[in-house]
Amino acid sequence: MISRRRESLATRVFRAGLLWFPPRIRRAHGDEMVAMFETQWAKAGARGWPARLWLALRATSDLVTNGTAARFAALGSRKLGRPAKSVHAMGGRGTMGMHDVVLTIRRLARARLFVMVTLTTLTIGLGMFAVVYTAVDKVLLEPMPYPHAGDLYYVWRDYGPIRDQPRGALPGTDVLDLQAAGGVIEHVVALQAFLGGVFSSGGDEEAMEISAVVTSPGLFELLGVEPQLGRVFGPDDAGPGRPFTMVLTHELWTRLGADPGMVGREVSLNGRPHTIIGVLPREFDFVRADFNNPPQRADAYTNLRVNLTDPSPNLADYSVLMRVSRGTAPEAVAAAVEAVGRGVDERDFEGRGLRLYAAGLKADLVDEVRPALLVVGAAGVVLALMLLVNLASVLLARAAQREHEFAVSRAMGASRSATARGPLLEGVLLGLAGGAMGAIAGIWGTRTLVSLMPSDFPRREAILLDWSVGIAVVVVGGLLGALAAMAPARWATRTALPSLLASSSVRGGGGHGRMRRGMVVAQVALSLVLLNSGALVVMSLQRLLSADPGFRPEGVLTILVRTPPVFIPNAQVVEFQNRVAGAFATVPGVTRVSAAAALPLTEATTFEPTSIELPEAPGNTGDPARDAVLTDVIGVRAGYFEVMGMRLVAGRTFGESEAAAPEAVIDEAFAERFFPGVDPVGQALFRRPTAEGETRADRGPTVVGVVQQARIYDAHQDGRPQLYMRITNQFFQRPLYYVIATEGDPETLVPALRAALRGVDPRVAMGEPRTMEDIVASALLEERAGAVLLAAFGFGAVLLVIMGVFGVVAGSVTRRHHELAVRLTVGANPRQALGLIVRETVWLVGIGIAIGIPGIYAASGLLRGALIGVSPSDPFIVALVAVKLALATLATGYFAARRVLEIDPARVLQAG
């Protein structure tokens, strides 16, 4: 070996590419190839970088093609047990290894129909596989786009001993404790949603609504991101009285015109002047996890201007993000956080056992979708298995047609490996081509999938079919092809001339028939599992769709209108809201306008759920901890229940004019909890005194009615009890979602509504208008996407199994042609002959189903997490699916077997 000089990066990459060549050639000529490449590289360098790029591309393709070809040649020679040498005796071998490939391609080109059918199947199957692989890989497997993302954790509090809230936010004092803890905890930042981000960049531009996150300093350092322009928050930006500062995301900066001079400029957020201090790079992407609302993706970040020691420990609203020492074990992180939590529990909660816990950044984000994705992923694997069996079966059938050719070439001295290479190469080539086409189909498929997904689906933006996935799919295709070709290749080497010469009637009667029958059994079993999973997920979706969410979404448009305190002081809020509602009501096409602080199925309330305690309620247990019930308190305007079509169970709703005493409407869950067996209408709701000096005389509102719950979180089950408070000057909430009952298409009214709002106050931005029907649809998108995918898989599985059964039965008829002809001649009637074939199908399908049923029970554990209101191993559904599958396959078998009736005994026997 010649001593190596220090090599450039390009040379090292090239040398690595040489690994693709068989060792023999690499050892003999590797250094020469490198030397030649170096000369080329140096010459290309003189012509500039495009020449180098071109050379790099060419060198890659050169190494891949020739390395592959050389490896194929080497493979053959190793099996032959002598050095690579042209085998001139065999017509099928030329002077080059590539020749085999060319021959195989030519042979495939002649069987155009076979190739078309096989490639279509592979394209669809591998395309689906690509989509699923992408989703699972990007959402569950790929690390978050931050350096050492595994060391990032959120910290939450389990409020279990006090109220039913296992994932609650932390107060500032806890943040300080965590920051002071030291040990493995390196950096801790507090994040808070900035409510009501009405943004204006000054000048005449219309105000727009943005989503902003308030953060203590250190967030960007913790996530390992440098600003593209300007700076990020430093220690001087934090604390009371500091000037308002803002860091823009690249996206918002672009939307504002991508002006590099924007840093240092003053903008307005909720009417307060903020100075832009920096712009984040384009690739930065971050989602703030929330304790109560869906994760929030921000357009901008602002500085935390409060003193973390100030708020009381009961007023908690920080999401806490921390980075631990490189590579700390999760157990050590958990222990460190628990230790801080114990201290806080002693100090602030009299040791009632409220714990703090850490959740990995990624796990925290994707936990909710993990079960559904795992099911889809598993279905993808099963589908790939079915493809494998199907391909093997098709290749076997094709090899059987060439039996004669194989036998002759074996007899003329072709080695076993030379005979096996044909079917193997066919399999690999078909698999690779199918993989490539599948990857292309997958690009389109992932786009469709992403468009089907809800916009807040975790890591949705990451679901893109990239090069690594594409290559993985092509490789999977090639592997499938190679595996599938094993059976026919093995079979081809076993063919022997004597078996062909002995008698035409037993032709092909050997191994391949048994193999193909085994494959049909496997296909039936696998497709039963897939079909059952698909049926269950579709049923589950149907349950969800038919679930009564407690309101009627038809024709209702919703608009969020922010009312920042800087523009509208507390004393004027209700008056302002009246004016907005009045303006909306004048738009032609609007039939009624109302508003609420939280909308059904948005999983979000603008107000934190509150622990409500009614000391005089009959439903109390006497245990103060359990009598405080976490409740969604929702402020609404008159007419809300009517616009939303909610069902009144008892009493009345709010009247148009405000009553003298405060009024409330409760939902059935609230009534059930506090007033079991008692008529709640007319009861006074006394809430725990919140202010100093409040007395029992300050009665809460009186219950005027009970409604069915309009579900906020899940479509299929009630959430927390709901308390609807009429919005008055004494009790108001902001911002409000205006709900607008319309005639005709609600979307057409948007411009007029926008103009109406501008007429009330041009400083106020209108949020994105959404119809209630949209909201309902997007709440179910995830389930719908899963159901569509699995149904498609099930459909694909049925197609594959039908193709398989048809092939085997038709093949069986062909193979037994002679035998059947004899039977027909000696007096069997055609029906009996038909029965003979059909009976075989019944057996195959029966065995397949018998094997598949335990498979269903094995899959049920995985499915459970993804199903709602359906048992994963419902015997009724299993039976239904099994019967349908049996009918479909038997019908296919019957049609294939009918070819028996076309047998003309005289002609067959004459020819034989």
Binding site: I2, F21, R24, I25, A28, H29, D31, E32, M33, V34, A35, M36, F37, T39, Q40, R58, A59, D62, L63, T65, N66, G67, A69, A70, A73, P83, A84, K85, S86, H88, T95, M96
Partner: protein, 112 residues
């Protein structure tokens, strides 16, 4: 001795390499330059394809490795020199004859 006729027609790339080496032994990069020039750029030999072919031709006894000619004081010790064997010569001649026949037939038909 393998029969030259059996390996015809030659892959154009193989033929080009043989023709390039008929003038005398050369190293890989020289072969590449020769072929590039003679074929006016229609045949390009990148390292992978060139050495895969060379390996194959060495195996089949069409090429052999030789010492560097005296007049070429090699600047790169990694360079090795190749020459055409007697069989290789025979093969190249056979291919040339085949091509000549082909061309003369084509010329005859075109003239008619």
């Amino acid at each position: 001795v393998p029969d030259a006729q059996y390996q015809l027609p030659l892959n154009p790339r193989v033929f080009a390499i043989l023709v390039a080496l008929l003038e005398g032994p050369a190293h890989g990069y020289r072969i590449r330059q020769e072929v590039d020039e003679r074929s006016q750029g229609t045949i390009t030999l990148d390292p992978g394809s060139l050495y895969r072919t060379i390996a194959k031709l060495l195996d089949d006894g069409i090429l052999e490795e030789v010492d560097a000619p005296n007049h070429e004081a090699s600047d790169d010790p990694r360079r090795r020199y190749y020459a055409v064997t007697a069989f290789g010569r025979e093969l190249a001649a056979a291919e040339a004859a085949r091509l000549r026949t082909l061309l003369s037939r084509a010329a005859l038909r075109a003239a008619r």
